[in-house]
């Protein structure tokens, strides 16, 4: 199939990319990879389950801070911080989502936004004396196995790319799974889903949990890439970005979300002199997309999706 060929070509290209790129391009590539993971995970909640989560930076930030605190403050090797950087966001996602998932669109949006503001304040005010206050935490190390350090930019790129592949695999499985189907039905009509016997509450919370796990992984990569974490990187403005990336790119559409991330994080780098105008460029893109392509730049084709409905 043609689509499959293109997919594999892109995957191979992403693996070979550092071989023909200089270090500053690999840095841009790494940023793209990390933010792609967060945007894709945002899509699970927003695009697939249809919940207006405007606080997704929380889980990304929790992953990043967990790795930063454990590694920089307590000297835990980066690789060993990964399970914590996944589990902690998941626990919080479940605790935060449980009381609010029944809320309708805009109410959920405001509630999650509120969580994000509280989260940022907690980081800034040096909660429990471990988040480092407004300056955050410096000096996060790099992963190492058997004494070999992943310190080159290319190796950090591959470290992040591994997480992206994992994310893509999970999303791919999700599409063909009972859970993915349930999320699609809930998105379309939560009440009807409930009446046919879908435990909508469970699946909504599950969507938050899996999405927080992936964002946590992206957080690990973020901490390693920048070797520092600070509150601004995870404030609600970031959540707004992830939210709009999904809407602009195309909900439930992996290529759409990747294109959205590319527009937001890579295009400004290509036009270096306009880099400070990135919000301007993306703002225009948002307006034009919503007028010209209200379903996103690369919308998913519904009606073709449910081939997998036959049990």
């Amino acid at each position: 199939m043609k689509k499959r060929t293109v997919t594999y070509a892109l995957l191979i290209l992403s693996v070979l990319f550092p071989l023909f790129s200089n270090s500053s391009w690999i840095t841009i590539g790494t940023t793209f990879v990390i933010y792609s993971i967060v945007s894709l995970s945002q899509d699970i909640v927003l695009g697939r389950a249809g919940m207006f989560d405007m606080g997704h930076a929380i889980y990304f930030g929790m992953g990043a801070y967990t790795t930063a605190i454990l590694n920089s403050t307590y000297g835990v090797p980066v690789l060993l911080t990964i399970p914590f950087a996944v589990v902690i966001p998941v626990i919080f996602a479940v605790l935060l989502a449980a009381p609010i998932v029944h809320l309708k669109g805009d109410y959920l949006l405001v509630a999650t936004l509120g969580f994000n503001i509280v989260f940022e304040q907690a980081l800034k005010n040096n909660l429990f004396g471990i988040t480092g206050g407004p300056n955050g935490i410096f000096g996060v190390g790099v992963p190492s196995i058997f004494g070999i350090e992943f310190s080159s930019q290319a190796s950090i790129y591959y470290f992040s790319l591994f997480f992206l592949f994992l994310t893509l695999m999970i999303m791919n499985n999700l599409e063909a799974s009972k859970t993915g189907r349930a999320l699609h039905f809930i998105n379309e009509d939560s009440l009807a889903s409930e009446t046919i016997g879908i435990n909508t509450r469970f699946y909504k919370i599950f969507a938050f949990a899996i999405s927080a796990a992936l964002s946590g992984l992206a957080g690990v990569a973020f901490a390693v890439q920048y070797s520092t974490v600070s509150p601004e990187a995870f404030n609600f403005i970031q959540s707004v970005l992830f939210f709009t990336i999904v809407i602009v790119g195309g909900q439930s559409s992996i290529p759409g979300v990747l294109i959205g991330t590319f527009l937001m994080f890579v295009v400004p780098e290509i036009f270096r002199e306009f880099a400070t105008a990135r919000y301007f460029v993306f703002g225009i893109a948002m307006i034009l997309t919503m007028i010209l392509r209200p379903k996103g730049i690369w919308p998913v084709k519904f009606g073709r999706i449910p081939k997998y409905i036959r049990h």
Partner: protein
């Protein structure tokens, strides 16, 4: 006679915030019956069905189905115990085709029973003709058929229908009501919420009339059809005394 009472609703009260929509109602549905709940807009008919199927928590009272206390059973479990709810406003999945929508009715089943599928298609031949059409592009009447068809796939013993005649042409309403009779003849008990009192009274065995959250009148449909009160208030007839 308690064991042929399939559904027993006792002193049920339901509120939305501080507005009480259902103010202590009691009724039952016996095995094999069609029972109608009639009433004006806002009387609490939909709320009553939502309470039974667990979509809305009740404040007081109890709901029993067979020997189960289902008062606090969550909505997604209700379908597995034999009650199927075709909610108000059709609520079909517009991005799926007709066949997929119907099959989804069997979401909680281990597998899809082909015999059941044939039966459902025989009730609604129109849906079979259009099985590959996107459900969102069906006409209102066809969507209503689809909602009922979907609700039948879980092999319910009890069907909750919320205004199946809403927005349909009179001829189509007759068709749908005939199908409801046929479903009932196959052994499914039906609790039917309707505003079309005349047709509902012709179809049902018994009826309850709700007025602002309370049962105002109840009885066999034969009695209700000849009651002057019902005729004046719900059938638009002037009494000629």
């Amino acid at each position: 006679m308690d064991n042929d009472r399939l559904l027993i609703v006792e002193d049920v009260e339901v509120s939305y915030g501080n507005i009480q929509a259902v103010k202590g109602i009691s009724f039952d549905v016996r095995k094999g019956e069609i029972v109608a709940i009639l009433g004006a807009n806002g009387a609490g008919k939909t709320t009553t069905l939502r309470a039974i199927s667990g979509l809305h928590k009740i404040e007081k009272g109890s709901i029993r189905y067979k020997s189960f206390e289902i008062t606090s059973v969550p909505a997604y479990k209700i379908v597995s115990i034999g009650i199927s709810h075709a909610p108000e406003g059709r609520r079909i999945f517009g991005t799926l085709n007709v066949r997929e929508n119907i099959l989804l009715g069997a979401y909680t089943m281990q597998s899809i029973d082909d015999e059941r599928l044939h039966w459902v298609y025989s009730l609604f031949p129109r849906l079979q003709e259009r099985q590959n059409q996107l459900a969102g592009t069906l006409s209102g009447g066809e969507q209503q058929m689809l909602a009922i068809a979907r609700a039948l796939m879980s092999k319910p013993e009890m069907l909750l229908l919320d205004e199946p005649s809403l927005g349909l042409a009179p001829i189509l309403v007759k068709t749908i009501f005939n199908v409801i009779k046929e479903i009932n003849n196959a052994g499914v008990s039906v609790l039917l919420v309707e505003q079309n009192a005349r047709l509902a009274l012709q179809l049902a065995d018994r009826a309850y009339v709700l007025e602002v959250g309370k049962i105002a009148i109840s009885g066999s449909t034969k009695d209700l059809l000849s009651s002057t009160k019902v005729q004046e208030a719900y059938l638009g007839k002037k009494s000629n005394r």
